[in-house]
Structure formats: structure tokens, C-alpha cells
Amino acid sequence: MTKADAMRREITTETHRGTLSLEPLCLYVSVVALACLLLPACLFAQAQPQIAKSSCVECHSAFPEPTGVTEAQWAADIHAQKGLTCASCHGGDPSEPSPEGAMSKKAGFRGKPKRNEIPAMCAKCHADGAYMRQYNPSLRTDQFAQYQTSVHGKRLAHGDTKVAVCIDCHSVHGIRPSREPRSTVNPLNVANTCSRCHSDAAYMKDYKIKTDQFAGYSASVHHEAMVVRGDLSAPTCTTCHGNHGAAPPGVASVENVCSTCHVFQAQLFDISPHKAAFAAMGTGSCITCHSNHRIVHPTDAMVGTGNEAVCTNCHATADPGFVAAGQIHDDLSKLDESLKRSDEVLDKAERSGMEVSQARIDEAQGRDSLIKARVTVHSFQPGKVEQDTQAGMKIADKTYKAGLQALAERDYRRKGLGLTLITIVAVLIGLWMYIRQIESRNQSGGS
């Protein structure tokens, strides 16, 4: 018997259920291995949407801009994923391999649409409710109607082709739905998209509007909320200006726009003396103090009569408004100081090892009062602001006392320690004297 035979004998074992031999085992293993290799490929293939093959992309993927469209670009387009082809917008025959056949007038080839024709062309589908319902019943279909009310739409109708049309914001050939992070109209990217024109001083030189909006917005607290804190509900250009019906809100409607989020401030403003005054002056309410694009985080220094205060922009020294502004600022500062003072004492107590968690909870309530008071500022009535700050002062007082109590307890402990140490020292001296005694007795009395 050869060695191979011997091995085969060994591997073939007999069990209750029968024998386990080597050759079928090899076969099973190979089949399983092959299946494991092929399965991921199958799954992967299924995950991709089927993009129809077209001769257009085959040629145009080799061209540079502006006639170049790569396979990857087109595959990312939502239209391609839903089964539309180049011919849907450009006409022609994508099944024809030759350029003459594919781009023939007979096949309905339209070529590159003119800029002022683009909105109407997109609207042919996107404004057709019955048509769009096939793809996404909840998508709006009023974009074109809105566009026609916008500054862009109106100017386009008068022949200005420099204004934005659909493809300027949504891009072309690689259009992603707005909820995708890489879409040019995703909330995170909207400001960048608008600024492509609106921050370009050379492009905008014929128009009588500024080009510093994006720079201002980038420094604003709204931008920080969106980009740094990741709050997608924070406002971007389109939130206040509209997207398809983009136009600046009128002076009278600025407050309405801001108050969709800043409800309390608007309610307080409405009952304040400023409402009538600003309407009479014809200035936009909120933006007079807070600016429109460069809206920075407000500080207590903004209200009052100091250098950074906005109140003194209108209010002259000693007029009622000036006085009120000073009072409001003082109230806020007093509460802020009070809270800081109690915070310091609690910190000190905590560092000494005292436990002050209850006072910390109360402290949070105190800070709530300050936050509320800063909203109440918009009533521009010192009495109302004082109501909030007084509540806060009471709490700050309470937590300050708690902190002092904790420090007193700490001192009590140290006094207790001192007394105990005295008794210990007494024992130590006593012991030492005792030792001296017994040792001298040993020496003098003999061991």
C-alpha cells in the first residue's frame, strides 16, 4: 500500500451515518468557495441602478469641458437613474453609433438649448403634475411659476442672460437630489452655490447690489450653526430669500421672515415702541440692529450706551431711549456678575473637595433666567427685563450662599483636624517622655 493510499484510508472514516470520503468533500469545498467569490459580485451588481447605454456618453466622455460628460458624472445624475437619456433634453438618437446618426435633425436633435430657454424646457416635465407623479408624487411642481416671480426670472424675461437659470444652481448632467450631501443645492452647499455669482465683483459690476453677502454670512452665527454645529435647520440664503422665487424680502417683511424662527423676539418687538418707530423710518426691523448677513452672536455689550452698543446709533444722550438702554444693560450685567460670583465660590468649594451638586443644578436655573432676560430685551422696556433678571438674582443669591456654606463646612473640618492634631501631638510628647523614663530606668536600674 502506498503512502497516498494509507492517507486516504485514514481520511476516510466510518461514522454511524456512513463514511466521509475525500473526493466529494473537495467538490463541495470548491463549489462553496466559488459561490462565496461570486455572491458579493452579484449583490454589488444589484445595488447599482441600471443606466441605459447611450452612444452619446461613449463619445462625449472623451471630450474636455464644456462638451465633455463622463460616465461617472452621468451615472450620478438623478435623471439618468430614473431612466431618462440625453435625448430627453437634447433630442437625437442615443442608439445610433455614428455622430451624424445620433445628432441628426431627423432624430429630433436640438443641440445645446439657449440660456433663456432652459427654465421653460425643464418646466416641460417639472411643472407637469401628472408627469412628475409617476416619479415622486410629493415633489413640488411650482418651481417655474415661482421662478417667474423672482428677480432672476423677471430679468431673464427682459433679456438678461447673465442671471441664474436652473442649471446654474442645480448643475447639469450630474444633478443630485437636494437631500444628498454633494448636491449643489443641499442646505450645506447653498451659500457656496449662490456666492459663485453673488461674490464675484467683476461679474456683478453691472448690477447695483453689493457682493459682500457671502463674506458676511460666513462670519455669522447662522453659518456656524449649520457648518460647525451641524444643524441643518439653520438658515442659509434660500431660507430668507426663497429658492426658486428668490428675491430680497421687502423692508416691511424682514420681521416676518426672521420671526418664523425667532418667535419670542418678534412678539416682544411688536408690543415695543420700536415697531412703529422703525416702520416710520422705513428701516427693516431686525436688521437695523443685527444686520442682515453678518449676524454675529449678540453680546450684552450690544445693548446699552457703551462703545459697542447699537442703541446709540439712533438714541441721543439722555433721551428716554438712551436711559432705558442703560437700565437694561445694567440689569443684564448685574445678573451676569452675580452668576459669575456664585460660580466662583462654588468652584472654590468644589476644588477644596466639597460636594455642591445641588447648588450646581440651581445655578443652571439662574443661567436660564439670564437667557430669558436677553430675549426680553426685545421689548425694550426695562420693567419687563427686570422681572426676568430679578428671578435670576434670587437664584444666584441662593447658590452664592450655598457656596459660602460649603466653604464654612470646609473650615469647620479644618478646625476639627487642628484639634485632633493637638491631641495627637500631646500623645506623641507623652509617649516620648514615657520612653525616656523607662529607658533611663533601665539604664540606671540595670537591665
Binding site: 473637595g353 473640618r413 483636624l417 492634631l421 495627637i424 500623645v427 506623641l428 509617649l431 533601665n442
Partner: protein
């Protein structure tokens, strides 16, 4: 009817009535006689004799404060942190009991190490004191076990992650590592089950074993007497009249009592001036905060493991470190058997080893603290 002849009841002639009472019932005098005759050698290095008793004293403090803490502590993940917070804030002098317990734990481990090193350098581990050294080394490991298990009990963030890392390292030991890790953690991960288990170790298992070993250790010391450093021993052998001793009772004990009172003062001051902090409640789902590190007595091992490169040749670096420490520990335990004769040449080598070990531990601990940003 035969009657069992009754033995004459013992009588005592001691001057003190209480002692007489005890003597007639327990044979008190016979029991304490050896203690009365116990002497302690007096020489330049006698002060080192205090360390053993100091460690014992601190252990007794731990037992006392530990029992007090047991009255209020709750060993479940839901309530452990809050119960320690309760002790620190609501219970009268709870802050004192808890802080003394935490500080005394650290001091005890320090004196245990110092005691071990002083015994090493004074060559008190050689024949016939091998068993004393052996029981002592096991006691040292038990002390570290007390420290490790007790550290988790307040269930704060630092403790949670230190335990996680510590048991993770234990899991790296070949063969027995994984079962050991699961045994320690009470599962795959550090959870409430780990807390309950560590509590059981800390208040029942370890104290039981430690008490037995301390009794053995002290019994051995009483039977074998106090060792005298080799140089001094030789000098006295040459000139016997120079030999100086003091009785244990009351002389040495009075000295020792002084040391213990000083320790009490130090503990009280530490507890009042530097109370042990509470930290924040452990949350297993939060990422480990930066700067996680073990208590100082594990720092030198932790720092060593951090410094070893990931791979040393074909061997995993961490594994090499763990095996290294294991080997070192084994050698240390077996020192009396490896060192040979008390006056032999190998003793010089062991002294060198001892100096190296001490320097290594001190430097690595310091390095560990300097390297980690607080």
C-alpha cells in the same frame, strides 16, 4: 459508682486581678510569656523595623473604615456612584471615613513596598526566613489586588476605564489570559457584574486570605525573632558585650505607637485637606477620556508596556512585557532560594538587582506621571 477525679482548678499569683482571672481560665501568663521576653535588636538600622508594623496598622485602619463604608455602600452599577456620593455629602463624617480609606490604601501599599525593599536590602529573607518572605510577597500581591478591586467600587469614569484597561492587559497572558479575563470581569466586558464580583473579592475573598497570611507571617516572625543586618550581626559576633536590645513590651511598642499616631495625624490631615474626589458616574457608552491611567502603584508596569514597541522581532510587544513582569515577579518570590547563603557572593548580585528594581520602579512611575498630560 466510680467518679472522675476532678483536677484541681489552677490558681494564679499575679498582682493584677484581671490577669489572675484570665490566667485561671486561659492560661494567660503562659500565652503572653514569649511576648514578655521578645526583644528587638537596637542598631543604626532599627528604624526600618517599623515598616512591617506600620503596614499592619494601616491594614487595620482599612478594615475599620471599610466596615464603616459597608454600612452605606451599595455594590450595583445603578447605585454605587450615588451611594458613595451619599456617603461624601449626607452621612455625618462620611467624607472623613471615605477619604481616610482611600488615602490609607495608598499609604499601605507604599509601606508594603518599602517594607519589602528594606527586608531585601537588610537581607532578612535568607534562611531560616524563606517562608516569611514567601508569605510577605503573597501579601504584597494581595495588597495590589485590594487596590485594584477597590478602585472600581466608586464606579466613576476613571475607575471604569482603568479597570477596563487593566483587565484587558490581563487577558493578554498566553493560555490562561482569556479565561482569567472572563473570571475577573464576570463576562466579556466590564459591567455591573464586574462591580459585584470585585466587591466580593474586595470585602470577602481577599480579606479572608489576607488575614490567614498575616497570622502566618506574624507567627513566623515571633518564632524566628527579628533579623539583624549582616554587618551588624558580624560586629556583634566579634564583640558580644556590644549587643544592644530593647524589650518589645513596652519599649519598642511605645516607639511603634508613636509612629502609628503620626500616621493617624497624616491620614487625618490628608483627608481634611485633600479629600478624595468623586469623579463623574461611569458611562460604558462614552468614549474613554484622554489621559486614562492606573493608580500610581501600577504606573511603572503601565508605562513600561507603553514604551515597548508593538512588535519585538516575531513576538507581540505587550505580551513580552507581561511575560517579563511575570518572570520578574516569580524571581522575586523565589529570591531566598536563589540567593544562597546569607554571606555568600550571590547576595551582592541580589542587592544590585534590588537597587535596579527600586530605581526602575521609581523612575518609571515618575516618567508615567510626567508623560501623561493632566
Amino acid at each position: 459508682m466510680a467518679s472522675v477525679p476532678e483536677a484541681t482548678p489552677p490558681t494564679s499569683t499575679h498582682s493584677n486581678r484581671l490577669v489572675r482571672w484570665l490566667d485561671e481560665r486561659f492560661g494567660w501568663e503562659q500565652l503572653v510569656a514569649p511576648l514578655r521576653h521578645k526583644t528587638v535588636p537596637v542598631h543604626k538600622l532599627s528604624y526600618w523595623y517599623f515598616l512591617g508594623g506600620m503596614t499592619l496598622f494601616l491594614f487595620m485602619i482599612q478594615v475599620l473604615t471599610g466596615i464603616l463604608l459597608l454600612l452605606y455602600y451599595r455594590p450595583s452599577a445603578n447605585e454605587a456612584f450615588e451611594s458613595v456620593q451619599y456617603i461624601m455629602t449626607q452621612v455625618q463624617f462620611g467624607w472623613l471615613v471615605r477619604s481616610i480609606h482611600s488615602w490609607s490604601a495608598n499609604l499601605m501599599i507604599f509601606t508594603a513596598f518599602a517594607h519589602m525593599f528594606s527586608v531585601l536590602f537588610l537581607r532578612a529573607y535568607t534562611k531560616p526566613r524563606e517562608l516569611t518572605w514567601l508569605t510577605g510577597m503573597v501579601l504584597l500581591f494581595l495588597a495590589l489586588g485590594f487596590g485594584f478591586s477597590g478602585y472600581l467600587l466608586p464606579w466613576n469614569t476613571l475607575a471604569f476605564f482603568a479597570t477596563k484597561v487593566g483587565t484587558e492587559i490581563t487577558g493578554q497572558v498566553p493560555l490562561i489570559g482569556k479565561p482569567l479575563l472572563i473570571f475577573l470581569r464576570g463576562g466579556e466586558e466590564v459591567t455591573g457584574a464586574t462591580l459585584t464580583r470585585f466587591f466580593g473579592f474586595h470585602v470577602a475573598l481577599l480579606p479572608g486570605i489576607t488575614t490567614l497570611l498575616i497570622a502566618t507571617h506574624i507567627l513566623l516572625i515571633q518564632r524566628l525573632g527579628m533579623s539583624v543586618p549582616p554587618g551588624q550581626e558580624a560586629a556583634w559576633k566579634a564583640l558580644p558585650p556590644n549587643k544592644r536590645e530593647m524589650p518589645f513590651f513596652p519599649n519598642f511598642f511605645a516607639h511603634e505607637l508613636m509612629a502609628w499616631y503620626v500616621a493617624l495625624g497624616v491620614l487625618g490631615a490628608l483627608a481634611a485637606l485633600y479629600p478624595w474626589e468623586l469623579g463623574s458616574k461611569a458611562d460604558p457608552f462614552v468614549a474613554a477620556p484622554a489621559g486614562i491611567r492606573p493608580e500610581w502603584y501600577f504606573m511603572f508596569m503601565f508605562q513600561t508596556l507603553k514604551l515597548i514597541p508593538a512588535k519585538v522581532g516575531p513576538v507581540d510587544g505587550e505580551l513580552l512585557g507581561i511575560m517579563g513582569f511575570g518572570l520578574a515577579g516569580l524571581v522575586w518570590v523565589l529570591l531566598p532560594f536563589l540567593g544562597g547563603d546569607r554571606y555568600g557572593r550571590r547576595q551582592v548580585f541580589i542587592r544590585g538587582l534590588g537597587v535596579f528594581a527600586l530605581a526602575y520602579i521609581v523612575c518609571m512611575t515618575a516618567y508615567g506621571y510626567m508623560a501623561v498630560p493632566k
